[in-house]
Structures are given as structure tokens and as C-alpha cells.
Symmetry: C2
Subunit: 413 residues, 2 copies
């Protein structure tokens, strides 16, 4: 489909939590301008749809080639992000404000990079546009380390985070095993509702009996007594026990393990101490078994580590950006870019398509139960067929004086 | 000095906390066998001097060339480690046991890789040997991410940990700055008594006013009220404030900040909650200022990350191992390998020497006060002249299926 107007301006936004490759997608979108000569301008909204009404756009065409290349390997979110939910009522003023601004800015397509919540924004804007016969196209591009979007084989951001988790756990296991004393190490990994990222700890094992010997996801109920029993048994056979847990593990009643301590712990200032799931397990094991215990939260390094990101992930994130541009040029709207693994033996290939964004928004794709062991304490090796291609290859940011160079906008000071 | 016996067997031990490069030193020692044909065997003690009396040595000559190369880029401690203090009483049975075993094993030199406490072990064994006219030589080889050994410009392990800290803080700052809401992020870095590693966060800044805007070391007294005042002021000018603190910061009375919460916090199981310094600051800022606050502990990843270690550090760690062998062959004992930066403009070079290990053991080299700002809240840029060479160059472990390959001994299961 040919665009017959004298301009085709694209506006890009980033939304939700940052990842190692959300800027790789932005890179892909900027590079698409070279591939499609209909495109007249590519602009960025600062701090997502929330910031768009308050701040001027930035002209991404002004980035030099070197800056654009830097973007590909820069973590965080170059354009800034937001956590903002559009109202259900399409009569709300905010819709009129956004569309007035888009028209004033001569925008023809909005590409929005984000996770489940951000796809809700794309769905609402495209619905409002359709109701009001707006020609502006709205395309969602997936991004989340949680890998919990439906209708796509995986999400950009997951591969790099999974690679970081697997490599870090493998290194921490070497560290945990140096002493000839019995000890337990608990590693808490991001994932409130879905265990995809925690499951990647399986790849850390160097041989079948290797640590981490226990892996717990939020897809099954966590049983404290059973865990203590297993740890006791394992400690009778080996010195070092390493356990990986998702932050969102819960008991059979659905109560989060990380909430167990809320009721009584207060600090000197009188407020409640919030302990993570790992900390709760640490305290319980120390109390009940009395061995040396340590808990580690991988925390925001999981989603911001670009120093050894997955080359596959970086490349796919850029390709998703390009596909988003191409869908917009085709005249599609209310669509999210999806990735489909081709069923080719021995060869990993991805086909990029689009799906109605309304199918995706506000849904969670859980980690499949068939890849969790019957006891709920381990991940089956079958999962590796799915995971392995996603963590292949190394992407390195350029280094300067021994440290990674990144592209950034200065904070106003 | 020529060794006139028909053997020169070296026994190596690793002791104290692991680093990214303690195995690089072991690699250097094994490679030294090629350089010095007097050496008849190189053996490893498992779990340091404590394990030596209980477990058979391993013959490091049995490692293949490929395995030896893998050792160079493997974190942890391949031989295992211990935390063990020899008694002050040289009449103690343990000394007689160790020397009887060394003689039975035909050991001519013991190389012990470790930090302050491990140097105490070297000092005591060489002193006992001297008193009892033993020909066995004892050499210490420095290792600690804390960089707190005296008589040496720096210690192997520090450069890689500092590079990891600087790169991680730089990435976390990008992450912390994505939202247009006021927020504080606290990053807690290892260092109970010395602030060298936390000071490396200075290198994370991309421009002078960049985050982290506050850096606190244990070398000065931490003033909570002053910190709160500064954070309030900073938040009036910028959205995101990132603070780096050493785990060992303390108030003017010497009380550790991380102990502030010990007295009252108890969890549901009735035991005290131990909160790190970062957590204490997080709670205090939330309570007093009421903004979004997050604290992150870099934890054991700081000392176990080999995926992008400092090439300078890895090379120097190996060179320290080689130097230890050469000192032993010269007939020295009770000596620790030291590194001396040559005063050559524009060119960083290190000369390797030895110093009496008794000068070093049980001493702590603090971060110099002249590199701390007058207010005690920042590090002066002068420090970068010292730090920059130590983090130069990248060392990468070989990759296999997207993850780093390491050399390991299997845990007995």
C-alpha cells in the first residue's frame, strides 16, 4: 500500500521497565528510515505517552551514525519511560489531547515499545483512532525480560536477561562452593507472575547434579516444609546447596512468600521491613537447619546488563523495530509485532508477523507446567531446546577507558 | 641460588574470599613450570591449609593445556578455600602435623594466595620453619577485591571488581533515570573497612554532574542528617539521585549503619533481621523524604564476575604467580609478592618485588583521605589516575552455547 501524503512521520515511545535491548529496537526503527524512503521523519516521545503531552519530541534523525550505533548496545531507555494507564472511558480529555497533539505534530504512525501494560495503551489509542476515523496507525513492539507476552515465541529483552541470569548463577555457584563447610545460597530472580527468567538458571548447570539443585517458580505452589526437608537431605550429601527462586513464589493459599514477614518486622523508625522471598527463605533455613546461609537478589542488574548481552536478542530486538515500521507503512494499526520460531530441524529461524494487540494486552503467558518437574522443584531439560537459541552469541558495547560507552540524554540538573 | 636436591616441588593453596582472578594466579604458577626447569612438580592443596591435613593433594601437572588456559578466566577458587587462623603458640600440634605432611609430600615451597589473614598464615609457617631449620620456603601472593594490603600498589582481584562495579553502576544509573518521577537509588558495595571498591563508582560517571552524585566510604564518618539534607537538595534540582555506599559505613561514634536496625527488627520466626547499610538508608529516606526509593546490594557478583574482567588484572594476577615461583626458587621465604607502579609518564608499568610478609599481615590499607572530598560525600577526580590503568582491557572466558566455560572440580554428591 502506497502512502499518498507528502509525509510519513513516525513517533516512537518506550514504556514500562527498561531492558538491555529496548534501545536496540529503537535502533532498528531509526535504521528502517534507510530501507523505506517514504519515511520523512522519525521522532521520539520523552517518557512515553505520559511525557508526550508535557515535553517536546526529539528528532531522532539528528543522531549521527555513531550515536545510532551506540544506541544498539545501550541499556535503559534512551527516550525515558513511564508507567501510565489510559482511562477506559474514551470520552476522557486525555484522548482528545493526545490526538490533537499527534495531528499538530503531523504524526502518521506511533510505534510503542513495551510489555503487557504498554500494549493496553496501544490497544486503546488504536481503538480511539478507529472510532474517530483517524488515519494515524498504532503499532506495539514487544519488550520485557519477563517473557510473559502471549502470541509470540518470546520477547526481546528476555534472551539477554536469561543469559545474564544463567552466567551469573554459574559464577555464583563457583563462589558458593569454595569452602568445605555446609552452606546454602539463595538467589532471588525477577518474575512476579511468570517464572521464565528464573527457569533460565537451569542453563547454569555444568553437569546434571550441579547447582542450582532447586529451582522454584511462581507457576507452582511453594511448600516451605518440603523445601526444608529437601535442603536437609541435600546437605547430608553435599556441602553447598544453591537455590534459585522467583520473587513471586507463593504458598498454596496464594500468599506471597515475600509477604510472610510483613506483619511483624519493623525497624527503628517504626516502619515495616519488606523482605524479599530470598530473605524469607534465608531466615527460615538459618532458623530451622542452622547452617551458613546467604541470599542474593540479582535486582536491576538483570535487566540493565548490556556488557555481555545476547547477540541473538539484540538482533531480534532491532528486527522487531524494523517490522513495526513495515507494518505501519502497510497501513496496519492496533497490531503488535510477534516472533514465530520456524519448525526447521537444527536451524533456529524467526519469522516476524503481527497480531491484534487486543489479544495480547493485560494477559500473562505463564511458564509451561510440562517443563516443571513433578515435584515443582526443578526445570526439565526439555526447556533447554527452547532457551538455548535465545542466549547465543555475544553483543558487546564499545569500550572506552576500560568501561562501556553508552548513548544518553543528560538529566536536567 | 641453585637448588641442589633432585626435586623442587611446589604446593599451592588458595585462601579467603574468592575473586575473579585468584585462578589466574594459579594459572601463572602452573605456567611457571615451563619457564623454570628446576621445578619437578606443582601440586594443589584442597581448601587451603585447613584442608591440607585432611585431603590428598592434586597434581596440577595433570591438567591439560586447554584446562590450564580455562583456569586463567575461571572465577571462584579452583582448589577451594578456607578461613583458618593458625594458633599463636608455635608448640601447637597443628604446626608439627603440617610440617610432617609437607616433608612426607616432598614439598620444597608453599605458595599461598590470599589476603591479610592468609598472609598471617604465611608469616607463621615461615616463622615456624625458620625456628626449626626447615628448608621449606613459604611465599604469599596477594589477592583481594578490597585492595587493602599495604606495601603493594594494588592487589590482584581489585581491578576486575572495580571494573565490574563501575560498569554495573553506570548501567544501573541509566536504568534509574528512565522515569520522570523523583527517585533515589542506593547501591551497596563490598568493603567493611576500606572504601577502595566503592570509590570505583566514581568511574561510572559519564560527565561531571552525572550519577552517582553521592559516594560514601568507611574512611569517614557517615552523618544521616547531612545525607538527608543533601538528598532533599538534589531532588529539588534533578529527578534521579543515585548514592553508592560501602557496606561498612559508620557514624561518628563508630557504630555501623547496618547495625542500626538490629535492635528492633524481628521476623515472624522471632529472630533479628539483619539489614545492610543500603537498606537502612532506603528506609530512612522513604520515611523522611517520602520519595520512591530502592536499594541494591551488588553482593557476590562483584567478586565472581569473570565475563568481562580487567585484562590488566588477569595478566598481573598471573605475573604475581610467576613472581612467587621465582622468589621461591631464589630461596626466599616469609615473603609476599608486591606490585610497584613505575613513575613513567604516560606509561603504566608494574615492577614485581617481594616484601617481608610480616609487614603486611593483619594490616589494612585505607582509602587515602586526600582523595575524598572535604565533605566526605564524594571522591576526587585525582583518584582516576590511580584507578584507570587497573580496569583497562577486557578478558573474556571462552563461550560455549552462549555461556562462559569454566574449569571446575565436581562437588562430591
Amino acid at each position: 500500500m502506497q502512502n499518498l501524503k507528502d509525509h510519513f512521520n513516525i513517533l516512537v515511545g518506550q514504556s514500562g521497565g527498561p531492558t538491555a535491548v529496548i534501545n536496540s529496537t529503537l535502533y532498528g526503527i531509526i535504521k528502517a528510515k534507510k530501507a523505506f524512503d517514504q519515511i520523512t521523519g522519525i521522532y521520539g516521545m520523552i517518557n512515553g505517552i505520559e511525557g508526550y503531552l508535557k515535553k517536546p519530541m526529539v528528532d531522532l534523525g539528528l543522531l549521527s551514525d555513531e550515536e545510532t550505533e551506540l544506541l544498539k548496545t545501550t541499556p535503559g531507555a534512551y527516550l525515558g519511560s513511564c508507567r501510565f494507564k489510559l482511562p477506559e472511558d474514551y470520552q476522557a480529555q486525555v484522548y482528545r489531547d493526545i490526538f490533537a497533539r499527534l495531528e499538530a505534530d503531523h504524526i502518521d504512525a506511533v510505534l510503542y515499545i513495551g510489555g503487557n501494560d504498554s500494549m493496553d495503551t496501544v490497544a486503546r489509542l488504536s481503538e480511539y483512532g478507529a472510532r474517530n476515523h483517524s488515519p494515524i496507525r498504532f503499532i506495539g513492539i514487544p519488550k520485557t525480560i519477563d517473557n510473559d507476552l502471549i502470541e509470540t515465541d518470546h520477547t526481546p529483552g528476555y534472551g539477554s536477561a536469561a543469559k545474564y541470569v544463567a552466567a551469573s548463577v554459574r559464577q555464583m555457584v563457583l563462589d558458593a562452593e569454595v569452602y568445605a563447610v555446609r552452606s546454602v545460597t539463595i538467589i532471588e530472580i525477577m518474575g512476579r507472575n511468570a517464572g521464565w527468567l528464573t527457569a533460565a538458571a537451569l542453563a547454569a548447570r555444568k553437569y546434571p547434579e550441579d547447582n542450582p539443585v532447586l529451582i522454584y517458580l511462581p507457576e507452582t505452589d511453594f511448600d516451605m516444609a518440603d523445601m526444608l526437608h529437601r535442603v536437609r537431605d541435600l546437605l547430608s550429601k553435599r556441602n553447598s546447596v544453591v537455590i534459585c527462586v522467583s520473587e513471586g513464589i507463593h504458598d498454596a493459599s496464594g500468599r506471597l512468600i515475600c509477604n510472610l514477614e510483613h506483619s511483624t518486622g519493623t525497624d527503628v523508625f517504626g516502619h515495616q521491613l519488606l523482605a524479599g522471598a530470598g530473605k524469607v527463605l534465608e531466615n527460615k533455613i538459618r532458623e530451622e537447619i542452622g547452617v551458613k546461609v546467604r541470599s542474593v537478589e540479582l535486582n536491576i542488574t538483570q535487566r540493565s546488563s548490556a556488557v555481555q548481552a545476547s547477540f541473538t536478542d539484540v538482533s531480534e530486538a532491532a528486527a522487531c523495530g524494523m517490522k513495526g515500521v513495515s507494518l505501519a507503512l502497510e497501513g496496519q494499526s492496533g497490531v503488535m509485532v510477534t516472533m514465530h520460531r520456524q519448525d526447521t530441524p537444527m536451524l533456529y529461524t524467526i519469522e516476524y508477523r503481527g497480531t491484534k494487540v487486543g489479544n495480547v494486552s493485560n494477559q500473562v503467558r505463564s511458564f509451561p507446567l510440562e517443563w516443571i518437574s513433578a515435584e515443582g522443584t526443578d526445570i526439565k531439560i526439555d526447556f533447554m531446546n527452547y532457551l538455548a537459541p535465545l542466549i547465543q552469541g555475544e553483543s558487546f558495547p564499545p569500550m572506552e577507558n576500560g568501561l562501556p560507552r553508552f548513548l544518553y540524554r543528560r538529566q536536567s540538573v
